[in-house]
Every structure is written in C-alpha cells, then in structure tokens.
C-alpha cells in the first residue's frame, strides 16, 4: 500500500537523521529530568502525600504529558529548516504521498518521545514509583497520541508561517495556558471552582487525569477512556489538517 510504504520511507529517513545525532533526544529529556530530581522532592510535603511514591504517582504522569505537548509543539522548527533547505519542495515535486510526508515525520517524533518517556519512567522507578506494565503501556499510548497531535499541528503551523520568528512566540502563547489549565504540575483538585470549570474545556486536562488514573492502577476510571478518545479524535483532526498543508500549493 502506497501510503504505508511512503510513510515508512519518510519515517526511516527522519529516524536515521535523528540517530545520527542522538544528542537531541537527551537534550529534550534534560529539562524533565531536572524537574524529576530537583522539583519533585518538594511535592510530598507540599501535597501532603503519605509517601514519596504517592507524590510521584501524581507528578510523573503530568511531567510525561508536559514532555509530549512541548516536544511535539516545537518540532515545527526542524521543518522550517527543511523548508529553507528546499527539501520539502523537492519532495513535493515527486508523487510521494502528502500524508506520508507528515506522518513519517510525526511518527519519528512519537518514537523519540516514547524513548524519552521510558528514560523518565525508569528514573522514577528509582524513586519508588511502581506502576503495572499494562497500565503503563496504555499511558504510553496516550502520550503517543498527544505527541502525534502536537507535532502534526506544529508542522502544519510551520508550513503556514514559514519562519522561526513567528513560530516560537505562537507556540509559547498556545502552550502556556494549555499547560497551566491541564493540572500538569499540580492536580486541579486544588483549583477554585471557576478554574476547574475552565479547565474542563482543555482536552489536555482530560489526558492528564486519564494518565494519572493509569499510573494509579485505576484503569477502570472513566477519565481513562474519555481522555484517550478525546485525544485520539484531536490527533486525527490535527493530522488531517496538517497533511492538507503539505498538499496545498505554497508559493
């Protein structure tokens, strides 16, 4: 099937280039690791959690979702460099599938995110975090869908604005409220009523709740399937929109 073949082709190329310079995976993971080591120890007393492990069950899922959102949203910068080098235009004069041009790249980003998520989860295990493997895999599926959506949206926006100078403030402006309204750093259970009301409209807050439930071993929690469904639908929409940007003629 042409789409699968082309996607695999682009994915291989992008992964190959990433592995040639794997330092970027570690640079990406540096900030969350710092949070894990230097911020998380404050949480047990601050949240009034009974044990360190309990505090990590709340914090680590949030941290992983944060990584997926930010990691994805900033992938557009690489695409702008490719646009400038003429690589995208060179691809667009070939009959290669336009959807594959996007999917190959976004799937590379998903793989790179999952590698980072594994590193962080392993580190958290050292701090007595315990989570069932089945629950963890489902949580990673959630992270993969988030990264797929945010990286696709970032590529789509990059194709529209075509400049780093416009992309950086745009992504920051979007990411900041999304981040604060999703209860990533602290659960929104602490929030006043109006803030919880606003956060209900933030899809990422559902994703964070779902991921937390999974880390808590609560796979039956409604937030798990709700979060997965919401994010899956948005990821599909994001991919559809971004693939259209790849197909559209640009001057």
């Amino acid at each position: 099937m042409k789409l699968a073949r082309d996607t695999w082709l682009i994915f291989q190329r992008q992964l190959h280039l990433l592995l040639r310079n794997p330092v970027w995976v570690f640079v990406g993971v540096f900030q969350p690791v710092m949070y894990l080591l230097l911020f998380a120890p404050l949480l047990k007393p601050a949240l009034g959690a009974p044990t360190q492990a309990e505090a990590y069950k709340i914090f680590v899922p949030g941290l992983l979702v944060l990584l997926a959102i930010f990691g994805g949203l900033f992938q557009g910068f690489g695409l702008i460099a490719e646009l400038r080098a003429g690589v995208i235009e060179r691809s667009r004069v070939t009959p290669v599938s336009r959807l594959a041009l996007l999917l190959g790249r976004s799937l590379r980003d998903v793989v790179s995110l999952l590698a980072q998520a594994v590193i962080i989860t392993l580190l958290a295990l050292l701090f007595d975090l315990r989570v069932f493997i089945g629950d963890l895999l489902l949580a990673f599926l959630m992270l993969a869908l988030i990264a797929l959506m945010t990286s696709a949206v970032s590529y789509g926006v990059a194709l529209k604005v075509k400049s780093e100078d416009a992309l950086a403030p745009l992504m920051n402006t979007v990411a900041q409220p999304v981040l604060l309204l999703s209860g990533i750093l602290l659960p929104l259970a602490f929030a006043p009523g109006w803030l919880q009301g606003v956060a209900k409209w933030n899809p990422f807050s559902w994703a964070v709740d779902g991921t937390r439930a999974l880390f808590n071993g609560d796979i039956g929690n409604d937030r798990v399937w709700q979060g997965l469904t919401i994010i899956a639908v948005l990821a599909a929409a994001g991919v559809y929109w971004a693939a259209r940007q790849f197909a559209r003629s640009v001057r």
Binding site: L17, A85, G86, T94, P95
Partner: protein, 319 residues
Amino acid sequence: MIETRGLRKSFRSRAGRETKTVEAVRGVDLDVPASEIFGFLGPNGAGKTTTLRMLATLIEPDGGQATIAGADLLKDPGEVRRRIGYVAQGGSTWDESTAREELVLQARMYGIGKTEAHRRAARALEAFQLTEFADRKCKTYSGGQRRRVEIALGIIHEPKIVFLDEPTTGLDPQSRAHMWDEIRRLRADGMTVFITTHYLDEADALCDRIAIMDHGELVAEGTPTDLKREISGDVVQVGLDVVATGEAEKLLDGEEYVNRLETLEEGGLRLFVDDGATAIPRILRRIDGAGLDLKSIELHRPSLDDVFLTKTGRSLRES
C-alpha cells in the same frame, strides 16, 4: 513535449489595508519540442519562476491548459510529477545527509524499489563524478558539487523533461562550464531540458531555443540566431567616461542614422544603427568636434542582450 495555452496565474497581495491582485502570468502559450534545451529568460518579477513552478506542479494555474510529456497538468498533476524532474534554484539537499542517501531517498519517493534505487544512485554518482564524496555529508561539498548532486536528484527517475531553475547562478566560471556540459549530456540522452537563466551568454551558447518573458507575457520566442537576426543593423559601442557620456548622448540622440541609443552604467553608449560602416565616421566626427575624449569604439552584430533590450525596453543587466 511541453504545450501550454493561455496559462495564467494571479496572486493577491496585501499592502496595508488594501488587497491588490497581481497578475503574475497572463496567458502564456509555449511549445517546447522534445530533446531540446529550452531557455526561459526574463527580468526578476517577469513571471518566469511562477510559470516554471506551475509547469512543475508546485502551484496550481488559475486558468489555461498545459500538456507536459503527454500528461494534462490541470487534470492529472500526479502523472505530470512522474514524468518530469525539477531542480529548484535555492538548492534541495539536506546538510546532514550524504549524496548517496539523498539519491536513494529521491528514487524511492518516485516509487522505485530499494535495490534499483541503490543501483541508480551509484550510477548517477558516477555520471556526475561524485563517487569520491558520495558518503560525505552534503554540508562538506563545494557549490559546484552540491549543484551536481541536485541535478542528479532531479533526473534519478529518468524523466522525459527536466526543469532547471537558474542552474548556474552562483557558480564560478569553471563549474559553470562544467554544468553546461552536464546539461548538454542530458539532451544527448534524449531529455528535454527547460532552464531559466539570466545570463544571456549562457542562453546563447547553450539553448536551442529561447523565450523571453516580461510583465507576465511572452515577448519573443525562437532560436537565438533567429532572434538576433530580427534586429536588423549593427550595434556601435562607444567607450567614454561618465561625464562625456552625458554630453555625447545629447549630441547623438537626435541624429537621423541612430535608431536607438542606450547609455552604459560604466560609461559609454550603445548605438543601434542600420549600417555600421557609414555610421562610425559620422559618430567620430561628432564626438571629436565636441572635444570629447574617446576611449574605444567597437562595431558588432546584435547580441541577445540587444534582443532583450529591444523586446523589453530595458537591459537584462539593469533589471
């Protein structure tokens, strides 16, 4: 090989609050025969890149028709893509990739299988004398080497037509001569080569046929020889310093044997006359009579630059 009728494209641009429609290409009729090097000339903003990008399926025409290598551009751009190659002006290689990787990827994007893609990449590397650098990253290449990789990328799938957008811009004279040989080799292989250029000597030396575009329309088309023949008469070039140029212009502009007069930026005049042999003594008399210091005087047949000047009203060098 390429046939277009009434091809057009306009863009909307916004300047402040006003939106303005710019007609970049207003009805282009082109006929490019097979196995020729076809040169597409025009000043910046004439619409030649827009035309090229339409033919290469990168932008959709607003109207008109085009058949490229037998496929309909508007109805079946996918089929056109399979049959053409396109080499952009600004480059198309990724710094961190090697030439071999780029060539294999490009072949595979055209649907060619893995083994065959590797075989073609090896063959292209050899043909373009790149084997030595094949596995080094593109960022280590010289301008000429990189250009050769890009041309190789454009023809890896053996298209019937290849579009080259200013293939020699930015190359040193030696690499440029080398590139001309490569382009002639493509023609010898039976390919139709469509190039844009703003070097008139290049168009003259390399192209079998040229078209000149200005303000979104074709203003001339034909072989370089025919186009030059169209301009009857001779060109007399008079070398003067900048101050004397102004005075000589006033002296000679009204003379009845001067059909047209152009001042040169570096000082001096070009005079289009019917017969150089009778005009030169008269020009000399006027200049001498005014006490102006003459540096040189040359008589030559019209060049493509003169064709360009006649057709567009300005020299390509100043546009």
